[in-house]
Subunit: 116 residues, 3 copies
Amino acid sequence: MTDIHRSVSSKRWADVVVHRGVARWVEVADDTAGDLRAQTGQVLAQVDATLAVLGSDRSRLLEVLVFLADRSDAATFDEVWDAWVPEGHPPVRALLQAGLGAGCRVELVVTAAAGD
Amino acid sequence: MTDIHRSVSSKRWADVVVHRGVARWVEVADDTAGDLRAQTGQVLAQVDATLAVLGSDRSRLLEVLVFLADRSDAATFDEVWDAWVPEGHPPVRALLQAGLGAGCRVELVVTAAAGD
Amino acid sequence: MTDIHRSVSSKRWADVVVHRGVARWVEVADDTAGDLRAQTGQVLAQVDATLAVLGSDRSRLLEVLVFLADRSDAATFDEVWDAWVPEGHPPVRALLQAGLGAGCRVELVVTAAAGD
């Protein structure tokens, strides 16, 4: 009876929120022990998993804000990203350096069209 | 006769913009003389006030991007946030360190479902 | 037959994505040889050009996240911005310092109502 659907497993934040056909979420690697390449592979796999739960897929991403702890990681991030992003259907993307949580090398703020 | 509703008190930016049921706004503490704890309490109270004007409330927040001037303020921010965020209805949240305006310790980019 | 419209000229990202009447895109100056003032003028002209393609205009901007490489550029940015932003119809705006690409002094994450 609400227009907002949340997946919640933490008191602090929602895993994903869907409103009027738009899903929003934030993704960091579940395991931050790895380097940037490992974390990027992991975080993009997590995005795939979230999209699948939403009945959506990579081709329905609208916007991805990429925050890297270290700007010099950008080339490696792009390498993994380029192999992942669907040809002809990339989202809008910004890549910025910002201060992230301890151990975290990459954080994504994702907006996607929900599946419906 | 427009689909966009703005609350405007400055030439430079809108206080809040509502479009198709989604409200967007940016919040910094009205008084930046206080420390991070004071500014966080203040900025969250301001979010409540904006939500009330929108006919909305905390449980209808969709996404909050938290920018802190100092990453080491995160634990204190979380303490105040955890006491404020509605149980079972938290928004998606990213917490990032970025360069803010003079004196400003915390800045929020907020997306919420409008009340309608 | 899709609800998502993309303008794509790169494998890596879309130039603009429109979904349910909302356009999202990221703008950096096409020529990053200039200083902050030059890049700001350029990037705002590019926003105008994108809006025109969308059948939209400056008065239909919803949110602009401004990322500056150097926080001390804010006053100059504001000067150019103030002359550009439509009176009475400004978007929500955050201005933050973050690490940008080589040579890039300003990057905008733009959300606007599409023209329809």
